[in-house]
Every structure is written in structure tokens, then in C-alpha cells.
């Protein structure tokens, strides 16, 4: 039996404890960076972090902290394109862009980013280009990890096809150069590459994941923060990736905590449990800013709020009725009453950052109830009910906006019936009769094809779900996406606006969207013109 004196025992204990204490102290003193908590209404709609699956507004907040694209959109600047993982790019021809990769970029798993990783990120294994329905059949029908492997779900392919409708291949030229090749000419290829779908990921990490779901919940990218913990429906914790090519990140840990109630998010901010609270309705600005330590920041973003139509409805089949809808909306009243003038009524589905393509003289439908009534008389509309499937404030102020819309439509003689729904698939469901609904459209790069054709053209959601189609619009969408004649593209875009907003309305724009974030006033962080939240050094501190 071993016998120990008290002194020896004390010494042994000290020998065990002191080094740990010293290490702990060393860790805490070397990293003075803060932990930042962001209260969000939802971390991810799909409970995954793979941008090919999570295409939501809420997902936009987090992805660019752990992922990056070759080219990035300058959301905080002039909204132009700028180098990211590609330090430069050039056009080889109308169909091909050659990108030179940045040197010394590392993935979160420590591996150096290679041209092969870039090719893999756009390849069939990740984007599902070769996916068949038969392969999709077993996706959620069997136990993940047992049979399905890393085959992506079918919606991944749908998103990839919509983003890169004419993708042909990606070629590795040498260790630092890749070529993105399209099947047809496309002047917007660089913009498409900048979309979050083109996040560059580690091939080795993807192949090491037991299942696609495991991968999608812990993607390995190159962003300044890596995924430390993701508990679906609860919290996403990102931690600083100190080998980030852009320099040491300024925050030790980023915690995106799911707090569904807006009042609870504000309370977390006011009590100091959260440093940011997202999705603030404008009527809460006063509540937040009564405390001098807090402020609400943000403004308009590159997103439009819309009302969209289903042409299959017996009354809405007549474009005169849809035009009556568009003239019965007092858009300025919505902007003033619900947004306190913080947003604007845009000139249709377009943004000024489209540059030469922006149609400066295009006008939204004027608020003219008399014209709306005249159109309804001409259409022979006799007050037949038209359903309006509505979500409970998925969009900020959604229900209040619906009430204003409903009153305007009622005054014009339209009999619109609200039908509350719980989620988007219920709104879009073909069961029962669809009529009008709410939507929003983002422009993720500076060209009309980022919005009007990708959302309403043949690859867009409205067309795909059978809500609206117009043959001329389809042909012109194809031309806008493939033409390299800039003057002709301008003409085509204007014609697309004429069709979708006047002649055969697919939608009507209500106002530009606003994104408001409550935060600690002492944090030097600026919102950008998107749902994206940037926590890099360039947007943190003085």
C-alpha cells in the first residue's frame, strides 16, 4: 500500500492543479475578444446550413460568417462585385469566366483551398447535377447514414438549376485558375457566381461526412468563423477561425440564438443577454431607443415586397381584374403608416444598382380606385370571392399590410377573402383555389436577371408552381439571360416589365423591403443593404 504524507499529498495535488490553472489563465488572457449573442426569430428554415438547401432570408444572416464565394457582392458599398476567394477574374468569351484563386486560403478543417475544391463546390456531388428522381426517392424515406450517403436532396438541384440555368462545367486550368463555362452566352455569370449557392467548401470534409444531413449541419467553408455547434431550432454557435485569410476575426464566439417572439428578443437585448436583436418592426424603435445604450439600425435592402397573382383563378384569369388589384393599392399609405416613411415605393421590380439597365422613367401603377372600378366593370367582375392566403407576419408588418390592402381592394369592389396559413408550402399548395398571396424578391446581383427572370421566368417559382406563365415573357427571359447586346437587353427588360406589371400582371410591387436590427449602441457595427450580417474586422470596431 502506498502511504503519502500530508505534505507529499499537497505537493502532488498542486502539481496536478497548477498547470491546468496556468493554461486556463493563459487562454483567457490571450483572447480578449468578445462573445456576441444575436437574437434571431429563426436560425434556419430547413435546419441546415448548406446554402444550396437554406435559401431563406433568415439563412442569409449567418452563411457569410462561415462561408465565402469566389466573387462577393459589396453589400456595404456600391453593391458592385469585388474579389473574395478569387483575387481576380476575366472573361474568356461570352460563355466563360476565368477566375484566379486567392493564395493561402484555408478551410476550417485546416486544409488549403485548391482549384479541385472549387471545381467540387460547383460539381455534381454537391449540386446534384446528375440527381435522378430514383435517387431522390430514398432521401428522407430511409434512415440517414444507412443507405442514402451524401446524395443531396432534390431541392438542391432545383436551387442550383435556378441559379445557374445553363451551367456546363467548371474546368481546372492549373493550381490557381479555374474556368466557369456556361452552355450559352451570359453577361451576368460573375453575378451568378457571387450568389451564396456558390459557397466554396472543402471536398475532403464533404467526403468525410457520414451523410448529406451531417454535412449540411456542419459545412466546412473558408469564412472567418467556423461552425462550433448547431442545435436545430435552438442555437448556432460560430467560433473565430484564426487562420482566416482576411486576418484574425474580431469576435471569439458568435451565438445566433433562436427567440421566436419579438418582445422576448427585445427583452434579451435590454437585459444585456443579447447584443443584437433582429427583425425589429418599426413600431418597436421607440421602445428600444428609450434606453440610451441601444439603437435600431438598418434601412432599405435589395428586396421588394410583392403581391402575386394566380392566373388559374377564374376571376384572376382576366388581366383586367389583376390590373384592378394593382390600381386599388395605396402604396404610399403603407410606406407612411407602417414604415414611418423609412422605405420607398420603387419603380417596379428593379433597383437603381442595375446601372444602365435601370428604367428610370418606369412608373408603378398609380393609386386610382376609380380606374380599378372601371377595369372591374369592363371585366364583368360581379364580386366573386378571391382567396388571399396569408401568413402571420412572416414578413415584418405582413398582417397590417394585408389589412390596408384588403380595405383598398374592398373600396374598389373586389371581394378578397383572407385565408390564414401556417407556412409557405400551405400558401403555395395546389389543394383548393389559390388567388393572391404575399412574396418578396431579392436581387442578389446588379442585373434584372437576378430578380425578374429568375423569380418569374420559366425557372422561377411562380412559373414552376403553375401560378403564372406568359409565352412572350418566357421567350424574352431566355433572351435577357443570354443576350450580350446591352442595348437590346435594356429593351427586353422594359418589355418584361410591361408584361409582368401591366399587360398580364404576374405581381405588383408594394414597397422596397426594410431590415431593422436593434443593437448595443457601443458596438461599431453597420448593417448592409441585405439581410446579410457582416462580422468581419472590416465591419467591427473603429
Amino acid at each position: 500500500m502506498i502511504s503519502l504524507s500530508r505534505r507529499a499529498a499537497f505537493g502532488a495535488t498542486a502539481a496536478l492543479v497548477l498547470p491546468r490553472f496556468a493554461v486556463a489563465q493563459g487562454t483567457s488572457t490571450s483572447d480578449q475578444r468578445p462573445t456576441i449573442t444575436i437574437a434571431v426569430q429563426k436560425v434556419a428554415n430547413t435546419n441546415t446550413l448548406e446554402t444550396l438547401r437554406e435559401q431563406s432570408n433568415v439563412g442569409s444572416r449567418t452563411w457569410n460568417s462561415y462561408g465565402e464565394t469566389l466573387i462577393e457582392q459589396s453589400w456595404s458599398g456600391d453593391l458592385g462585385l469585388k474579389p473574395a476567394l478569387a483575387e481576380s477574374w476575366r472573361r474568356i468569351d461570352d460563355r466563360t469566366v476565368e477566375l484566379t484563386l486567392r493564395d493561402g486560403v484555408r478551410f476550417h478543417d485546416g486544409r488549403v483551398m485548391t482549384a479541385e475544391d472549387v471545381a467540387f463546390s460547383f460539381g455534381p456531388e454537391r449540386m446534384g447535377w446528375n440527381l435522378t428522381v430514383e435517387q431522390a426517392r430514398n432521401l428522407f424515406g430511409t434512415v440517414p447514414g444507412r443507405t442514402q450517403g451524401r446524395t443531396p436532396p432534390p431541392e438542391v438541384l432545383a436551387v442550383a438549376r435556378r441559379t445557374f440555368p445553363a451551367f456546363e462545367k467548371i474546368e481546372v486550368v492549373d493550381a490557381r485558375r479555374v474556368r466557369f463555362v456556361n452552355r450559352v452566352p451570359d453577361v451576368t455569370l460573375e453575378g451568378r457566381i457571387s450568389r451564396n449557392v456558390g459557397m466554396i467548401v472543402s471536398r475532403a470534409a464533404f467526403e468525410a461526412a457520414p451523410t448529406w444531413l451531417d454535412w449540411a449541419r456542419r459545412p466546412v467553408g473558408t469564412g472567418p468563423y467556423r461552425v462550433a455547434e448547431f442545435r436545430p431550432d435552438q442555437v448556432l454557435v460560430l467560433e473565430a477561425f484564426d487562420e482566416y485569410w482576411g486576418g484574425r476575426p474580431p469576435i471569439a464566439r458568435l451565438r445566433f440564438v433562436e427567440v421566436p417572439e419579438v418582445a422576448s428578443r427585445i427583452n434579451m437585448l435590454l437585459t444585456g443577454e443579447a447584443d443584437f436583436a433582429c427583425d425589429m418592426p418599426p413600431d418597436q424603435i421607440g421602445t428600444v431607443e428609450r434606453n440610451p445604450r441601444h439603437q435600431v439600425v438598418g434601412g432599405t435592402i435589395m428586396n421588394h415586397r410583392l403581391t402575386v397573382f394566380d392566373k388559374n383563378h377564374p376571376q384572376l384569369a382576366n388581366p383586367l381584374v389583376r390590373r384592378a388589384f394593382t390600381h386599388a393599392i395605396d402604396r404610399q399609405a403603407i410606406v407612411e403608416a407602417l414604415w414611418g416613411g423609412r422605405t420607398v415605393v420603387p419603380r417596379g421590380l428593379q433597383f437603381e444598382f442595375y446601372g444602365a439597365m435601370y428604367q428610370r422613367d418606369w412608373e408603378p401603377p398609380r393609386h386610382d380606385p376609380a380606374e380599378a372600378r372601371r377595369l372591374l366593370r369592363e371585366a364583368g367582375y360581379r364580386g366573386e370571392p378571391i382567396p388571399y392566403r396569408l401568413l402571420n407576419n412572416y414578413y415584418t408588418n405582413q398582417v397590417a399590410t394585408a389589412q390596408i390592402l384588403l380595405e383598398g381592394w374592398r373600396q374598389a369592389g373586389l371581394n378578397v377573402q383572407i385565408e390564414m396559413r401556417e407556412n409557405f408550402p400551405q400558401v403555395l399548395s395546389r389543394e383548393g383555389q389559390r388567388g393572391v398571396r404575399d412574396w418578396s424578391n431579392s436581387a442578389s446581383f446588379n442585373d434584372p436577371s437576378a430578380s425578374i427572370t429568375s423569380q418569374h421566368g420559366p425557372q422561377g417559382q411562380q412559373w414552376q408552381i403553375g401560378e403564372w406563365r406568359n409565352d412572350e415573357f418566357g421567350r424574352l427571359s431566355q433572351e435577357l439571360d443570354t443576350s450580350t447586346d446591352r442595348a437590346r437587353r435594356g429593351v427586353v427588360f422594359r418589355r418584361l416589365l410591361e408584361i409582368a406589371e401591366r399587360e398580364d400582371p404576374a405581381y405588383t410591387v408594394l414597397h422596397q423591403s426594410v431590415n431593422l436590427t436593434a443593437k448595443r449602441r457601443d458596438l461599431a457595427w453597420q448593417p448592409v443593404q441585405s439581410f446579410v450580417m457582416d462580422f468581419r474586422s472590416r465591419n467591427w470596431g473603429a
Binding site: 428522407f140 424515406g141 430511409t142 440517414p144 436532396p153 435590454l270
Partner: protein, 311 residues
């Protein structure tokens, strides 16, 4: 006693089967999980493939018998969102919910019953009126209002406690109080009225007239007889332990079974919703069974009633 017990167990099993059936039918009538889970962008053939894979293309009665058979073999199905075992998903959340509901149950019992007894024994006194005003307020104020008020005072104004989340015992204090106060109010009202009814009975007067000390009258004669309605309410509260905090968990962002239920219902994640409802029904039925047995212990007349009726 055995027949009494078997009868109660048989009724409990029947109740659970009815709940399972009702939940199954209602969930299948209230929306297509394939469309919701696959998302709006999924092509129609993929949605059809999903339905086939999960058997949703089968007639409802075929699905029902498959489901019921699986339950009997202990398989409660898998989450349609990520393929995980529904029972595992739910049981992972139960500790978080019990961390709120168990202490809240102690508050309900520890505060509600003494307050109700005290109010009954001091009927029409100032204390009685105060207890009843507080009880009525606690009973009528919705839990989300009470929760937000408590957050406003103790988290925002005083800064003593956190306003939400689940990061330690301090985070549980406000949701536990929110749950506990409402239930204590209910128990106080029931206990008071039960006690008042018993105190007005002839045997209480007789005991008093025979010179039995008042304390003994209350503890030996009044309390056991007043316990039956109170035990019924407590049984209901015990039955609500697993999913009785849906609103409070949402207000305090507490990741328990209630929050899981809200998310699962919104996504029509059938197996998860059915699993939660099955567990809730089982807990409720078990609690009622225990209450029934306690009735027999508390009141011997109930124990012998079936035999007498059959004689």
C-alpha cells in the same frame, strides 16, 4: 380491488387508443407534410417520391394500421425532417421541460393548497379576500402576459434574472414562477371551495360538538374529505408535466417539448407530433389512474361501490 384496477387500466388503454386515432386522422387532414418538408422549390416528382417513401400515397386506413402496428411493436416512427427516431427527439427534450414543470408543480402544491386552506378557515376575513383576489388574478391572467410582466420587472427593470434561454438554473426561475403561480391560483380556489363545503357538513359540527379540538377536526376530518377534488386537479397537473408549458417555453425561448411540438406541428412532422401526443396522453391517463386509485384510498365507499352495485 383487482376488478377495480383492471377496469381502470382497460379504460386507460382505450383512452390512449382513441387519442392516437384522433391525432392520426386530424394530422392527415390538416395539410400535406410532403409539400411542407420538401419545400416550395421541390419538383413535383420529388414530392411524389417523398409521399411514396413515407407511405403517404396509401389510403389513410392502410397508413393507420401500419402506424398502429408499429406502435404496438414499440416503433413510434421517424422525423420526416431529418430521419431521426421521433422518440429520441422527444425524450431529448423532456428533461428541459421537466426542469420547468416539476419545480412549478411544487410551487403549485406548496403555495396553492395552504393558501386555499387558510382562506377557507378564515372565510370572509381580509386574508381570505386577499388570497382570492390574488388567486382570481393568477387564474385569469394568461401565462404569456404574466411571463412578459415578470420579465419586464425582474429582468429588464431590476436586472436580477435573465429573460430567456436555457443556460443555467437562473434562466429557469422566471418560467417556473410563471407556470407555478397560475397553477397555484387554480389549486387555491379549488382547495378553498372544497374545504368550505366539507366544513359545512354535519359530521364536522358533530365532531366539534363532541369537543374534538379544532386542529384535529381540520386535519382528521376536513382535510381528507376535501382532498378528492384537489387530488383530481393535481392529477391533471401531473398529467400536463410533459407538454404543459408550450406557451411559456415559447415566451422564454426554452427548448423543451412544447417548443418541439410547435415546430413539429408547423412542419407537419407527423411522427414527432404523434409521439408527443402519445406521451402526453399516456402521462395524463397514468396520472388519472393514480388519482382513481387514490380516490379509493381516500374514500373507502368508492372502493366498495362496484361490488355493492353488482350485489
Amino acid at each position: 380491488m383487482l376488478r377495480f384496477l383492471l377496469g381502470r387500466i382497460g379504460r386507460a388503454a382505450l383512452t390512449i387508443a382513441m387519442v392516437v386515432t384522433f391525432a392520426f386522422v386530424v394530422l392527415r387532414l390538416s395539410g400535406d407534410p410532403a409539400q411542407i418538408i420538401m419545400g416550395a422549390d421541390a419538383p413535383p416528382e420529388a414530392v411524389d417520391a417523398f409521399r411514396t417513401a413515407w407511405g403517404l400515397d396509401q389510403p389513410v386506413w392502410v397508413q393507420y394500421f401500419h402506424y398502429f402496428g408499429a406502435i404496438l411493436s414499440g416503433d413510434l416512427g421517424r422525423s420526416m425532417r431529418d430521419g431521426r427516431d421521433a422518440l429520441v427527439l422527444v425524450t431529448e427534450r423532456i428533461p428541459a421541460t421537466l426542469a420547468l414543470t416539476l419545480p412549478a408543480l411544487l410551487i403549485k402544491i406548496g403555495l396553492g393548497i395552504p393558501a386555499g386552506i387558510y382562506a377557507a378557515l378564515h372565510r370572509n376575513s381580509l386574508a381570505d379576500r386577499i388570497v382570492m383576489v390574488v388567486a382570481v388574478a393568477g387564474f385569469t391572467v394568461p401565462s404569456f402576459v404574466l411571463g412578459l410582466l415578470l420579465v419586464l420587472v425582474f429582468a429588464v427593470q431590476l436586472g436580477w434574472l435573465p429573460s430567456g434561454g436555457q443556460e443555467g438554473w437562473r434562466h429557469a426561475i422566471l418560467p417556473v414562477i410563471t407556470l407555478g403561480l397560475g397553477g397555484a391560483a387554480v389549486l387555491a380556489r379549488f382547495t378553498r371551495s372544497a374545504m368550505l363545503e366539507v366544513l359545512g357538513q354535519p359530521y364536522i359540527r358533530t365532531a366539534s360538538a363532541k369537543g374534538v379540538p379544532w386542529r384535529a377536526v381540520v386535519t382528521r376530518h376536513a382535510l381528507p374529505n376535501a382532498a378528492i377534488p384537489t387530488v383530481t386537479i393535481i392529477g391533471f397537473m401531473v398529467g400536463s408535466l410533459i407538454a404543459g408549458a408550450v406557451v411559456v417555453e415559447s415566451v422564454f425561448s426554452w427548448p423543451g417539448v412544447g417548443r418541439l411540438l410547435v415546430v413539429a406541428v408547423a412542419n407537419r412532422d407527423l411522427a414527432v407530433v404523434q409521439c408527443i401526443l402519445l406521451l402526453v396522453a399516456t402521462t395524463m391517463v397514468c396520472a388519472n389512474l393514480v388519482v382513481d386509485l387514490l380516490y379509493g384510498l381516500l374514500d373507502p365507499r368508492l372502493r366498495s361501490a362496484p361490488r355493492r352495485a353488482g350485489a
